[in-house]
Amino acid sequence: MAKKQTAVPEEASRYGGGPALGYRALPGIADEMLGADGNVRPVWQRLLATLGSMNEANLADRFSRADRYLRDAGVFYRAYGKENSERSWPLSHIPVLIDETEWATVSTGLVQRAELLERVLADVYGENRLVKGGLLPPALVASNPEFLRPIVGIKPANGHFLHFCSFEIGRGPDGNWWVLSDRTEAPSGAGFALENRVATTRAFSDLYAESHVHRLAGFFGAFRDTLQEHKQHADDRIAVLSPGIANETYFEHAYIARYLGFMLLEGEDLTVVGGRVMVRTVAGLKPVGVLWRRLDASFADPLELNQSSHIGTPGIVEAIRSGSVSVVNALGSGILEARAFMAFMPSICRHLLGEEQKLPSIATWWCGQEAERRHVANNIERMVIGPAYSTRPFFDDDGQSILGASLRESAKTSIGEWLTSDGGKLVGQEVVTLSTTPAWAHGRLTPRPMSLRVFAARTRDGWQIMPGGFARIGTGDDVAAIAMQAGGTAADVWIVSDKPVDRTTLLPAEESFTRNLPGSLPSRAADNLFWLGRYIERAEGTLRILRAWHGRFAESADPNMPLLKDVSDYLAAHGIDTRQPVPGNLLSSIDSALSSAGNIRDRFSPDGWLALNDLSKTARKFHASVQAGDDATHAMTILLRKLAGFAGLVHENMYRFTGWRFLSIGRYLERGLQMTGLLGHMSGPEAPDGAYDMLLEIGDSVMTHRRRYNVNTAAPTVTDLLALDALNPRSILYQLNEIKKEVELLPNAFVNGQMSRFCRETMRLHSGLAIMTPEAMDMAVYSRLEQDLQGLSDLLAQTYLG
C-alpha cells in the first residue's frame, strides 16, 4: 500500500494520549481490554500499537477493506417478518481479544455444560427420572411449547440428542463469565463467525499474521468428519435442512452447506419412502442419512408435529423413529432453551455429574414455586422478569422482559399478585451488567457492552469449543441494545496464544482429494434454475421488442401507426403495456428471475447475484423515470447490457453441472418460444409495413441478413434466418439444436439404451423443424410449434422437477 506516512509527532501524541489511546473503562463495569487494575491486558497490546501507528485515513481504508469483502461475498441477514429486507452485515471492525489461558477455563465450563444438557435431554425424552426425582418440575416439560410428544421414547440413531449448540456468555463486574442463554435447537451464527473472521483479517491482515490467533477451520473440519461418520450407508447424503429463503439466517445455511460440502435442502426436497428419508433429485430419489437441521423442529413434519407447517416433510418423524436417519440436533432439543430451565441446572448438575457447574448461568428463579416467587418479589429491584418458556435471552426478546426496578415505580401493589397468578409462566433473573469492549466510534475507541456467542460441536473426540465465535456489541451503554435487530453490531473474537498455532484450513489436503459425483441435483433446485433461465430470457426478449418499438416511436411519435399498433397488440397479449415506457410486467420477469436465483443461493456465485440485483434496481429506477421514445430506447439498451453481463457470468463461470443444463434449457426454450410467437404474429401475409426489418432488429440479425442474402428483407429470407438457420443463435432451430445437446446429457436420458419420452419428444420437435422450408412456415405451423414447445416444458417438469 502506497499510503503516505503520517508525521511522527502526531503518532506520538495520539499514542501518548494515554496507555490506551485515551480509552477509559466505565466505572464499576468490567472491560475486555483493560484489566481490573486499569492496565491494558497483554493480548491487546499489539492491536493497540497497530491502531496507534495509524491515522484516520489509514484506519478508514482498513475498515473499508473489511466492508468491501462482506459486500462482495454477499453476506447479509434478514430482519424478522420483512420481505426483501436483506441488510448488510453490521461488522464492528475491532476484534475482541481473549487470552487462550482464560479461554481454556471458559471452554472447560462449556464442555461440562454441553454434556449436562445432553444428559437432561436424554432423560426428558426417555425415562424422566429428573421429574420423578423432584429435580425438574413437571410443568417445565409438559407446559413447554418445545416439548415434542411424538419424540418421546425415540433413541437417536447416532446415539445422542445434541451435536451442535451455542451459548451466549457475558462477563460480570467481578470479571467472571456467566452463561446468559443456551441454544440447543438450531443455533445460528457459526457461519457468520467465519465471515467475521475473514472480513476482520482483511482489515488487520498484518496483525493477524503476526499474532498467534487460533484458527476456526479445525473446529468445522472435526464436526464435518463426525457427521460423515453418522452415515449408515455409503450412498447416504448429508444435508443442511433449511426452512428456506424467508428465514433470517438463510444466507448462513447456504454458506455452511457450501463451506462443508453438504447439500442444502428444504423440507419440500425430501420424501419418506420405506422408512428412509430421500431427496428428490433430477436423477430420481436418493437416500439422505444425516440432516443438520436449521429448521425449527415443530415445523419438520406436518403429520406428527405442527399440522399447519408447509415447510416440513410428512413422515420424517416416522423415519427418525425407525432409526434410519441421523438428525442434528434431535427434534425436540429446543426444550432446553426455555429460560426457566436455568433455575434447575445447578442442582441437576450436582445430581447427574456429581459436581458444581464450572460456568454458572445467571441466577434464575422460576416463579411457579412458592419460595422462589417470594424471593423474586422481595428482590424485585435486582431482577428482570420475563416469560418462563421464552427461548431468547432477556436482552433480545422484543421487550417481553421487564426490569423489576421499573415495575416498582408503575404498579407496585400488584407485583405480588401478578407473580402469584401467572407464576408458572414467569422467571426472575438477576440483572447482570455486561462487560465492555472497545469499538471504533466518533473517531476513537469507545467502550460498548458486549456478549459472546460461543459454539460447541460434538466430535468423535468429545465436545469441542470453537476457539472464537462472535461478539455482539451494543450501540450505546444500554445492554438491551445488543441485539442485532435493534442496531447492534458484531465483532470477531480472537483467542490469542503466546505460541504459534495450528493453521488448518478446510481446503482439502492432497491425499483426501475426491471428485464429487454429479447427478444429485435436487429437483427443486433444478426447477429454480430452469425458471431462472426462462425468466431471464423472457426479460431479454421483451426488452428487445420494446427497444425496437421505442426506436420507431421516437421517429413517428404515433403509437397508432400500423406497425407499432401491431407490436403493441402482440405485447398486450403477453401482459406488456406499451403505454408504460418500462412496463410493470417486465419488472415482474426480472423479479421472478431474482427470486428463483434467491432460492438457490448456494449454487450461485455472489457476482451473479449482485449482477441480477443491480439489473432489478436499475429497471425499477427506469420504471419510475424513463420517458417513451429515445429515452426508453436508451434505457432498454442499458438494461440489455446488464443482462448480457449476467449471461456472460453464467456462461463463462458456471461449472457445467447438471444445474447449468437446466438453466440453459430454460433459456433456449424461452428464446424458442419467444421467436416462434413473434414470427407467427408478425410474418403473415398481412404483416404491416416494416415488420420484417423490425423482426431482424429484434432478432439481432440485421448485419447477418445483409451479408447472407443479396436481396431486400422479405418473408422467405427473414423466416430462413430467424426460424430455420441452425447457425443463427437467435433462430428457433438453433434453440432446438442446443436443447437436444443438453437433453442427451441429462440423467436418465436413456433407459436401457432407449431414449426417454422427454428425449424422444425433443428429437421429434427438432427433426420436424429441421426439414421445413421457409415457404412452408405459416401461422398454423408456428402456432403448433408454440404449443409443442410449451408441451416440452411441461414434459421436462414432469420428468425431472416433480
Partner: protein, 292 residues
C-alpha cells in the same frame, strides 16, 4: 355391554391425487375399568403402498398409510368389538378449586396420563379471556372441582345451540363462544378452555355414541358421526372424570372412547398430506350396535 362398531370415512377427490400420506386415529383404545377392545381392524381402499401401526404419546392407536400412485378416492373402514364397563357412580371426593394447585404440585410425573399435560394452552386452544370470564362467573367459591365441571357442562348445553351448519372443523373456541352455536367438537373445545382458565386440567376425548338409544330413552345428539366430549382432572383421589357438554351428561357405557388428547388436533381421525390440487368431499358413517 358388548358393542359392534363400524366407522367408514370416505374421501372423494375432485382431481385425482398423485400420492399422499395419512395418519389415522380411529381404532378405540382399551382403558382399564372403562372399556376393552375385544377385536378391531382398520382397512383402506385402495390398499396403501406402505402401512405402519403404532401408538402415539397419549397411547392412542395410530395407522400411518402411504400412497405412491394416483387415486381419486379413499375409504377408511374401522370395525371393532368393544366390551364397555358400566362406570360406578361414586361420591364426589374432588377437592375445592383452591386445593388443586397443591395437589398438582405434589404430582411429579409427565407420563401420558399426567394432568400436567392438560393445564396450559394447547396448539388449537389458546386462552380466551371471554371464556375465562364466563367460567369465573359459573364457578362458585365453595364448589368442588367436580361441581364446577358439571356446572360448566350444564351451562354450555343451555347457552349453546347444536347447529351443524354454523361451524367447520377449523372453527376456534373463541369463534364458537361468540356464535354460541356448533357441534360436539366446538362444545368440547369451549369447555376445555373454560376449565383450564380456572386451573383445572382438561382434555379432549374422541369417540362414538350408541346409535339407537335403549328403549324408552331419547336418541343422543352426535350419534351419526364421530363424537367428542371432555375429561377433566378432579384431584388425586378422583382422577379423570368425563362429561359430554353436547348432551349434558356424564360419559357412560354408551360413550365409547377412541382416544385422548389435549385438543382435537391430537386425536383428529385422519391427518393427511396430499399431492394434488382441487377440493375434496368427506363422508362419515358410524354404526354402534349393542350385541349383548
Amino acid at each position: 355391554m358388548l358393542y359392534d362398531i363400524s366407522l367408514k370415512i370416505t374421501y372423494g377427490y375432485e382431481a385425482p391425487v398423485s400420492g399422499g400420506r395419512h395418519l389415522v386415529r380411529v381404532l378405540p383404545v382399551s382403558i382399564p375399568e372403562r372399556q376393552r377392545l375385544v377385536a378391531g381392524s382398520v382397512t383402506c381402499q385402495p390398499a396403501p403402498d406402505e402401512r405402519l401401526e403404532g401408538r402415539d404419546f397419549f397411547a392412542n392407536h395410530t395407522t400411518s398409510i402411504l400412497f405412491r400412485s394416483a387415486h381419486d378416492h379413499l375409504v377408511i373402514l374401522m370395525k371393532a368389538r368393544i366390551q364397555a364397563e358400566t362406570p360406578a357412580i361414586t361420591a364426589d371426593l374432588s377437592p375445592p378449586l383452591g386445593a388443586l394447585p397443591a395437589e398438582l404440585a405434589g404430582l411429579w410425573s409427565v407420563d401420558s396420563e399426567s394432568p400436567h399435560h392438560f393445564i396450559g394452552p394447547s396448539p388449537l386452544l389458546p386462552a380466551v379471556p371471554e371464556i375465562a370470564a364466563y367460567a369465573r362467573a359459573i364457578a362458585g367459591e365453595n364448589m368442588t372441582i367436580e361441581q364446577i365441571g358439571a356446572s360448566i357442562c350444564n351451562r354450555i348445553h343451555r347457552d349453546f345451540v347444536y347447529d351443524a351448519e354454523a361451524t367447520t372443523v377449523n372453527t376456534t373456541a373463541a369463534q364458537t363462544f361468540e356464535l354460541k352455536r356448533g357441534v360436539c367438537q366446538d362444545f368440547a373445545h369451549v369447555m376445555i378452555v373454560a376449565l383450564r382458565s380456572l386451573g383445572i386440567p382438561a382434555g379432549y376425548v374422541s369417540g362414538f355414541l350408541r346409535t339407537l338409544p335403549p328403549p324408552g330413552q331419547e336418541r343422543l345428539e352426535g350419534a351419526d358421526a364421530m363424537h367428542a366430549w371432555v375429561r377433566f382432572w378432579c384431584g388425586t383421589n378422583c382422577g379423570w372424570l368425563e362429561l359430554d357438554p353436547t348432551n349434558d351428561i356424564r360419559a357412560g357405557t354408551d360413550h365409547i372412547v377412541v382416544g385422548h388428547g389435549r385438543d382435537y388436533g391430537d386425536v383428529a381421525p385422519v391427518i393427511g398430506v396430499l399431492k394434488g390440487y382441487g377440493s375434496h368431499t368427506t363422508e362419515q358413517a358410524v354404526d354402534v350396535v349393542p350385541v349383548g
